[in-house]
């Protein structure tokens, strides 16, 4: 038995364990989607609570106008929601753009909080804490500055939140507005649908577990007050706050009919930077919450911590090992001598991966085409490998940040002007 045998065995087990989990989650997500699609998702309330819609924005003048315009179109009672844009230490003309919006909509409750580099500029969590300090609503909704939510999104989220006292937050679905901008944005679109939305739906279906995606969600004000706001050190403030909600005994619901459209990176460097930030954030949250795996009182969140562990340790290591073994094998440096080791194992994994992703595309309107099969296969050999690079980069950065006691830096995703499907910087 050689090290190549041991690593191959480990990779095969790890990949198939993760594959099986994804198959199960996809089936659960599919059933949940079908169930929800049979309804309109609404649970009418006698009285709608006041909602503070918070939008943290840092140099977002390119997209903010469109975002606020979409927020103003919510079919939620206009006297029952306020829009709070935290213009966080922006150096562009965001302040002017926002002012103009306020002027144009005198009858709407739009609050703009402009921060300088002393109070602001410290990341999304800090911006949200600032916004929260002026928020009046008993329900807090969060949207990223590049979002254009559909009009019914807020009402759907709030109605579902108020339907059960045990629900701490309700998340919606987000779609890629600029999916045709580049091959990368196509990949991001597929990834978003398959591994963020469908996966979330599956986890909710089986375990009533979801992770807040950072945008298009509502949560109770009381919970934020109780947990003392957002953790400014967390780059993935969404995941971090999700775990805290679970620990309080609430659950998070997914309402896929509440849709927001957002702009995703269409250039590799921007994507790489954004995903590195996410990965670093998730690693931070994972380390912070790892101890809860062994805490029986932590409840369901243990499943989620375990899930993240599997993704960031099991999946990452197995992908690295399998690639090393494959390349070394092709070059003739190593030879795997496990009895029964066969390319069939990889072939089957590819088939399952493609079919699994195809399901999520089929269930969405205007997403499925037979070209997708090719795209998904291509994605497996390109985009997935990039993910490995992202996580390795994030790990290295996390370690160096820790060693040199550097504060985690929140890198804002660079936005682009979209015109009729084209994208301009």
């Amino acid at each position: 038995m050689t090290w190549a045998d041991i690593l191959s065995m480990y990779s095969i087990y790890a990949i198939w364990v993760l594959m099986t989990i994804n198959i199960v989650l996809s089936i659960g997500g599919y059933i949940y989607y079908l169930r929800v699609n049979k309804t309109d998702g609404h649970i009418p309330l006698e009285e709608y609570p006041v909602v503070s819609v918070m939008v943290p924005a840092h140099n977002e003048s390119i997209v903010i106008q469109k975002t606020v315009a979409a927020l103003l179109k919510f079919d939620y009672p206009i006297d029952k929601y306020e829009i709070i844009v935290i213009n966080d230490n922006s150096s562009d003309d965001s302040a002017e753009v926002l002012k103009e919006i306020q002027v144009r909509n005198p009858n709407r409750n739009i609050i703009v909080v402009n921060t300088d580099n002393k109070a602001g500029g410290k990341g999304k969590s800090n911006a949200l804490n600032i916004g929260f300090s002026v928020a009046k609503g008993s329900v807090i909704a969060i949207y990223d500055a590049d979002n254009t939510p559909e009009p019914q999104a807020l009402r759907l989220l709030v109605e579902n939140l108020m339907s059960d006292d045990k629900i701490g937050a309700v998340i919606g679905k987000f779609r890629t507005r600029n999916r045709n901008a580049s091959i990368l944005s196509r990949f991001v679109n597929i990834e978003t649908l398959a591994y963020q939305c469908m996966n979330q739906a599956g986890r909710f279906f089986f375990f009533k577990l979801c992770t807040i995606p950072g945008t298009n969600f509502v949560m109770r004000r009381s919970i934020i007050e109780e947990i003392g706001g957002w953790d400014p050190k967390a780059l993935s403030e969404d995941t971090e706050i999700s775990f805290r909600i679970y620990r309080m005994g609430y659950y998070i619901k997914m309402m896929p009919l509440a849709v927001t459209w957002e702009q995703e990176p269409h250039l590799l460097p921007i994507w790489f930077k954004q995903r590195t930030r996410w990965a670093k954030g998730n690693i931070y949250v994972l380390l912070k919450n790892f101890k809860y795996i062994f805490d029986k009182d932590a409840g369901k969140m243990r499943i989620d911590v375990l899930y993240y562990l599997m993704v960031y340790i099991l999946m990452l290591s197995s992908l690295i090992f399998s690639d090393i073994i494959f390349i070394s094998g092709v070059l003739g440096f190593i030879h795997v001598s496990i009895s029964g080791f066969s390319p069939l194992l990889w072939g089957m994994a590819i088939i399952v991966f493609i079919l699994n992703v195809l399901i999520t595309l089929a269930i969405e309107e205007n997403e499925f085409s037979w070209k997708s099969v090719f795209l998904i296969a291509l994605m497996l050999f390109t985009y997935s490998k990039l993910w490995v690079a992202v996580v390795i980069n994030a790990l290295v950065q996390s370690i160096t940040d820790h060693l040199f006691k550097r504060e985690a830096k929140w890198d804002k995703t660079v936005r682009y002007v979209e015109t009729s499907g084209e994208v301009k910087k």
């Binding site: 038995m1 045998d5 041991i6 065995m9 480990y10 095969i12 087990y13 198939w16 099986t20 198959i23 996809s26 089936i27 599919y30 079908l34 699609n37 559909e150 009009p151 496990i338 009895s339 029964g340 080791f341 066969s342 069939l344 194992l345 089957m348 088939i351 399952v352 079919l355 699994n356 195809l358 399901i359 089929a362 269930i363 969405e364 309107e365 499925f368």
Partner: protein, 521 residues
């Protein structure tokens, strides 16, 4: 090719076909016609069942079919058989003996019951001396140099005297001496029923083979195989090597029976054993697999096949190819055990239990139909394992722990017995396992239909082998995992395709019949 050359070749072919197969076929045809019946008492004792079992086993080794039935079961069917063995019959046998006489078949009577009636009704002019409860001295001569004697307890016996066609051995009891085996035409008589004794069993085997032989002269001679028995990975390799080298030096063919290994096949002990086995195999030795030790009655053939597959792979991984299986004789009499060994064309038998395992309700030696190449166990006539059985193939089992001197003496005795020794490589073998097929053709091994080499190269050993390898638990054959995954993937794929089609249909309906007030995105 010219016409003359073609004609010569054709003639050679015709002559060859005429000489070899026809001669063999004729003999076999004759043998197959011989349907044998062994008759036992209506309510047989355990001892009698053991006797019947011995007869059935011997007849099976002689490659004959045999039916076993009680007096009442067989009394009306005596006409259906060519040869009838009456074993230790007692009680009122008038009607049976009348029928037996009228049937006019070849008859072999063991024990005195009914012999006087039969002799009288047949009109044979023999005198019968009846002796009650005595000790008899029996001697039997296989050859001039191989004469053996034994004392037997006789409860109630009849000694026949007269003019016979053939006699062999003597029995002396109460100052009376008679022939141990007396033959007149197709009738053979032996006063004792004791087949538990080696000499009696060996002599009976020889005599019954002669009685069944349809031609003049002696039956075919079969070879003996030297088998180093029950070799485990923990068997000291130097001891095994010493015996192997001794046999190789004497240019004697030999077989090594290895114990099945189900796990830890990569341990150094196994490697060292396999190196000796590979060396033996490369120098004319053949390897067979010892049957797994099954403590309970086997009830799951598939599971045992799985284990045998694992055990076979544990050896084939080292280039060791077990050509047959060694099983206890009780496997002949159990349907499940017979099924277990169906995957092997060559079967070595060894005696194991002192209890009768024959199932009398089966009434037939079913194992005969399975067509194995059967090698019975040699019957030891002295402490050196001298065997005089050459009417069927036999195996002389050597125990490695007896020490090299004892083993040398046994091998010497075996060489002096006059029974030819044979290499297992001289016959073809077939072994089936799960996803594995091993066969030989004229000494060439084919593993899953591919030729394999039996060349020996010294092994390289890992120094400081770690017996507590942390990853050991995940190392197993992936074939099982592959099969399970193919099933899971097939089911998942079908489910996913159904999901995709259903989702597509829903989306098409939504597009064609949008809900009222729905915003077009």
């Amino acid at each position: 090719m010219t016409y003359k050359r073609f004609a010569v070749l054709l003639w050679i072919f015709i002559l060859a076909a005429a000489c070899f197969p026809m001669k063999a076929d004729a003999s076999e045809e004759e043998l197959e016609k011989t349907e044998i019946l062994v008759v036992y008492n209506n309510n047989p004792t355990d001892e009698e069942m053991m006797g019947v079992q011995s007869i059935v086993k011997i007849i099976t080794y002689l490659q004959h079919s045999i039916v076993f039935a009680s007096v009442d079961e067989s009394i009306s069917d005596l006409d259906n058989y060519d040869s009838i063995i009456c074993y230790g019959l007692k009680g009122n046998l008038d009607r049976f003996m009348t029928n037996l006489t009228e049937a006019d078949k070849a008859v072999f009577i063991l024990g005195s019951g009914g012999v006087e009636d039969y002799v009288t009704q047949k009109g044979y002019e023999f005198t019968c001396d009846r002796i009650i409860n005595s000790v008899a001295s029996v001697s039997y001569e296989f050859s001039e140099e191989n004469k053996f004697s034994v004392l037997l307890n006789l409860e109630d016996s009849v000694l026949l005297n007269g003019q016979f066609n053939y006699v062999k051995g003597t029995i002396t009891v109460a100052n009376l001496t008679a022939n141990l085996y007396s033959r007149y035409d197709n009738f053979v008589y032996m006063p004792s029923t004791d087949l538990s004794n080696s000499l009696m069993q060996a002599s009976f085997t020889k005599e019954v083979a002669q009685w069944l032989w349809p031609f003049s002269g002696e039956p075919f001679s079969y070879a003996q195989y030297i088998v180093i028995n029950e070799v485990y990975p923990f068997t000291p390799p130097e001891k095994l090597l010493e015996v192997v080298d001794y046999l190789i030096d004497l240019k004697l063919p030999f077989v090594i029976s290895v114990m099945p290994i189900y796990e830890n096949g990569e341990y150094p002990a196994m490697e060292r054993l396999c190196e000796v086995l590979k060396y033996a195999q490369a120098n004319g030795g053949a390897i067979i697999m010892h049957a797994p030790v099954i403590n309970q009655e086997a009830d799951n053939v598939k599971q045992i096949w799985e284990y045998l597959t694992i055990a076979t792979v544990a050896y084939t991984n080292y280039g060791i190819y077990p050509l047959g299986i060694q099983v206890p004789e009780r496997f002949m009499f159990s349907e499940i055990n017979r099924e277990i060994i169906q995957r092997y064309s060559t079967v070595f038998w060894y005696g194991e239990s002192k209890e009768a395992s024959i199932n009398l309700t089966e009434q037939f030696n079913t194992i005969y139909k399975d067509g194995h190449q059967m090698i019975g166990t040699a019957i030891h006539l002295d402490e050196l394992g001298n065997s005089q059985i050459k009417v069927h193939s036999t195996a002389l089992y050597l125990d490695i722990y007896d020490g090299i001197d004892m083993i040398k003496d046994q091998i010497q005795a075996c060489r002096q017995s006059g029974i030819p020794l044979k290499s297992l490589w001289d016959i073809d073998h077939k072994v089936y396992a799960d996803n594995l097929y091993l066969h030989t053709e004229q000494g060439q091994v084919y593993f899953n239909s591919s030729k394999v080499s039996l060349d020996y190269k010294p092994f390289e050993y890992e120094e400081n082998y770690n017996y507590h390898n942390a990853f050991q638990w995940i190392m197993f054959d992936l074939k099982g995992l592959n099969e399970k995954l193919v099933f899971v993937v097939a089911i998942s794929s079908i489910v996913f395709v159904i999901f995709i089609i259903k989702a597509r249909n829903i989306n098409k309906r939504k597009f064609l019949f949008p809900k009222e007030g729905r915003e077009d995105k």
